[in-house]
Symmetry: D3
Subunit: 237 residues, 6 copies
Amino acid sequence: MRPSGRSLNQLRTVSIETGVTKHAEGSCLIRMGDTHVLCTATIEEKAPPFLKNTGLGWVTAEYGMLPRATNTRTRREAAAGKQSGRTQEIQRLIGRALRAGVDRSALGERQIVVDCDVIQADGGTRCASITGGWVALRLAMNKLLKAGAISSDPMLDHVAAVSCGIYAGQPVLDLDYLEDSAAGTDGNFILTGAGKLIEVQMSAEGATFSRGEMNELLDLAGEGIAALVVAQKAALA
Amino acid sequence: MRPSGRSLNQLRTVSIETGVTKHAEGSCLIRMGDTHVLCTATIEEKAPPFLKNTGLGWVTAEYGMLPRATNTRTRREAAAGKQSGRTQEIQRLIGRALRAGVDRSALGERQIVVDCDVIQADGGTRCASITGGWVALRLAMNKLLKAGAISSDPMLDHVAAVSCGIYAGQPVLDLDYLEDSAAGTDGNFILTGAGKLIEVQMSAEGATFSRGEMNELLDLAGEGIAALVVAQKAALA
Amino acid sequence: MRPSGRSLNQLRTVSIETGVTKHAEGSCLIRMGDTHVLCTATIEEKAPPFLKNTGLGWVTAEYGMLPRATNTRTRREAAAGKQSGRTQEIQRLIGRALRAGVDRSALGERQIVVDCDVIQADGGTRCASITGGWVALRLAMNKLLKAGAISSDPMLDHVAAVSCGIYAGQPVLDLDYLEDSAAGTDGNFILTGAGKLIEVQMSAEGATFSRGEMNELLDLAGEGIAALVVAQKAALA
Amino acid sequence: MRPSGRSLNQLRTVSIETGVTKHAEGSCLIRMGDTHVLCTATIEEKAPPFLKNTGLGWVTAEYGMLPRATNTRTRREAAAGKQSGRTQEIQRLIGRALRAGVDRSALGERQIVVDCDVIQADGGTRCASITGGWVALRLAMNKLLKAGAISSDPMLDHVAAVSCGIYAGQPVLDLDYLEDSAAGTDGNFILTGAGKLIEVQMSAEGATFSRGEMNELLDLAGEGIAALVVAQKAALA
Amino acid sequence: MRPSGRSLNQLRTVSIETGVTKHAEGSCLIRMGDTHVLCTATIEEKAPPFLKNTGLGWVTAEYGMLPRATNTRTRREAAAGKQSGRTQEIQRLIGRALRAGVDRSALGERQIVVDCDVIQADGGTRCASITGGWVALRLAMNKLLKAGAISSDPMLDHVAAVSCGIYAGQPVLDLDYLEDSAAGTDGNFILTGAGKLIEVQMSAEGATFSRGEMNELLDLAGEGIAALVVAQKAALA
Amino acid sequence: MRPSGRSLNQLRTVSIETGVTKHAEGSCLIRMGDTHVLCTATIEEKAPPFLKNTGLGWVTAEYGMLPRATNTRTRREAAAGKQSGRTQEIQRLIGRALRAGVDRSALGERQIVVDCDVIQADGGTRCASITGGWVALRLAMNKLLKAGAISSDPMLDHVAAVSCGIYAGQPVLDLDYLEDSAAGTDGNFILTGAGKLIEVQMSAEGATFSRGEMNELLDLAGEGIAALVVAQKAALA
């Protein structure tokens, strides 16, 4: 029934390749089917001004799409002179999600910037950015630990994200672009490795949904996240 | 226990005053305690270009805060030269929420712009904007109906929004600024008059939450929205 | 003869309500007929850099209009990405006018920002902003005096403003929008409580005027300002 | 008494050289002492959109300063990414002033853009821009008349501008930079060749002035404008 | 002698992988050693306005760098709100270079946009962009030819680019970042498959060079380009 | 054969007038035929941040065109809100060229900003800016030397620039606008007084050129630069 032939609770093929750029302190290329996102983590030995003398660190994220990551070319935001509302919304979400998995006191007064750049888009780019961004962040933290810059691990748990939605009347896991365009109700679910919720965003563009539907999607998301965490572990092994 | 002395499931005092500006096709000043938002609806007899020849209309929203709506002065966005990511995120949310309550085919190829300007802020400005924005929209639709510009009512149901969160370990309804700053987990809930869900956004800045907590907040939100719908009806009566 | 039925030297109904927002150090809502402007004064304990070590303070102003303050919706300046030339011209005028009434040495090295936001426009918004802005500024100064932050009152005199013009061949006081649109010659007059001139701006869009006409408008302005100063005093009493 | 040794009612040496650039339809370099402004007029065979089908033309102005026109280098506005409030205020003033001398119906649906670029500044750049801009405009109109594009002359009268102020307690004509910086009260006066007033802008930065002083400055301005009109005529002869 | 151990006239390892994104009409990932650039070509069935009714097409280019393509993170241009002078200079160069290899009349009134996004930088990104961009363009042209949209091939010849410079007193081919930072004199050379020159840009930051040195670099460039054209052919085979 | 009747290796009439503005530390108006550029040099007693504690100075340049320097009016960049790619490319070139003639260690930690503003354009504005900018820079250096702020002359040699191209099949020196528009191949050549090369930029918009043609243009450029250096010397004498 799904355009891709997947079963309702089946993720797309996940691949997380680490160490893909020579400069970044942490990096990976995550592929969720045809959605490919390059994630890099940069360590900056200075926290943002509002954290001065708090002993706390910061994790933030930026998001971008290459102009031809999409089916028709999207105008380059640098040429347009500003980031769209969509871009800003997504990068704020990625940053919040990753911070939820970090003990900012253990990190100390430094900042890690996670850049998520979509090389090819087929739905679910913000979720892939979170799942891959976490791996890049983990690698950068490993570097800090190894270098002795920090003494205890600031990473509290895995963080991963997946979208689910009602497609053709059925709750499905990990929407691709075709499904995403057609789904009335969908949501993004960000969970920890232990299955706790970090963020839930459900909406029904021009429609409504029930708590029953919401629970079905939450169940699916839980299954999907568990599999994504396994993929994260494998990539880091 | 709550700083305001309210009980856990008690809304702030709600007041919705309609017809507050002489120019707008619909307007109201909504007060949720010390949060005051001026909402106006403007009818434009032209839909956005992407709807050309579709027969469908559009509802969109813009959001702003007066510089001294907040405890310390916030820089004027017009002077800064751009809307912040927060502003864009909020106005996209308001627009989506209001569109969920409108039959865009009955509206026809015209656009209604709902402006929500926060005169004074004490938490929950985006929710107050949605609840008040819906009243302004309703009044503008009444005007179109009365003028015979449209023949059937495009308004499908009431739309209202409220925030809930875990404050001091307890689920509470309609967070004010003090509660909002301290709450680990909170969410914005947008529902219809019939109690259907339009949008759910829950997050735990730097923490996590469980499905049990989520359900408690959803229950509270349902109660709150029911009361807000009563207030909307009273304001329009 | 005037659209409003007012006599030639009659102000619109003036109302100045103080203390209208809970956050600002001084605030008022001034209504000149259907022109409504919210004025707030914010005390900042730091003067602008160019005053460093001079012992002098600064008073500045910002001006904005809600998008639907006008008869047809005006594009939000924050969305447009810049303040119009008109906005900048007006806020520079308000700042200069208010500074003329302040002993900047008695204020000391701090800044007061007066925000004037037009909630509803019917002509004369810049004049109303000055008259109301002065009240907000006075209230903020009172707060500084009461707190002992300054020892002598920096306020030298009242400052108020009014527009006058030649409408249908007659000099009239306090133009509303209909008169303003039709007047060949008009001017903005800013005076002190003692009747001294602070700023005079007269122009004749696409026409000319004589010194005789100028003097007639100055006479009218003097009358109007005297009445506005009475209203300022009453609001503060 | 004046830094330049001029008498109270003495203009700086005025020189208006026409035809200074080969491309513009009208051009001149005006020198008021050490203030030098290059003025060009460009004819565009299309009026602005808001005049479509009105039969009326438009005259507008833009103003700029070369970065080192001033004593210390001023940041280039093109590099800063926006025109300052001061620049916008000045160019709006120049445009209004020039329009007051033009019968826009005789001009027909076309636009003339007058560019005023300050090559060297020593006070009074906006007034020099108006006086010189009028000459460039006159030359462009001559070109239209000669080419038969318009049949009757749209120029109603000369337009010229001068600043006056109270310097060291005395009313003086045509302030240079030293005087302008020290003057408590000053004003810009725009008059026609027939001595009618187009615009009067008087202000007292941080001080006040009387109607008596105002009249003295107006008298001086009248004298100065008469001499400037003679200079305009000589330049065009 | 070279940091990489390469001989003076040795290119870095070149790899051009085609078809790397599923959306673009033409694409490749070019690797010149550690410099990796993703090139995509997008066909737009509308030429820019200035070519309306000329029968001519257009080829243009845009260039970007992922923030962490570099050794230390570079600020995202979309966040900064504008493209740097360097970026604009480079993308104008790429566009000119590619147009030199195209018969714009055979292309017809359509536009091809070549996006060059640097995934990892180690010197020579603009040259790699041209060499790879040509391959993406070639593939897009093939698509147009195959679809019958154009009848004759608009591609006149191969276009490729390489940098050369004087490093440690010796002329060397294909500078990497270490060499580029240290070279006094260097240049970018754009040639056709037949060895004709399209563009030569030589400069000596803070120094000078002789015509003899220039000729040595031109000789090296000729060798390098010949090898790059072989690599382009192999990639397309 | 040339539109101007000049012989193939004939420069336009060159005129360099120094001391044209009273404020700048160095200034000249250079005229290359109908191309007129005002060049000013400003001494700033602070080097850019990246040179802090290096003992090195900096020379940079900015470039602009008055709106009506061109045949049809060009939009003012300050009004457009940004400098075009062309402007940025040119001002980067001017800066690099001038730095090549300066011993930045002898200059010490200060900056000289050279502003080149085109008053009238007829081709070759970037070359005229370099040739004239060098004269302004020389004058500013003289001022520093005379004041004893620096002890040894930082100027290493003259720097001048000229364009050459293939026009109507013939190599010609110093293209004017008509020739520049028609030339297939052209280049900008920046040389020192001793005839050493600083920068060579040759391109063939939509075409190609040979090394033979390149050498012919280089020969012409050498002749032209020698004459320009004579003109620089004469202007400074």
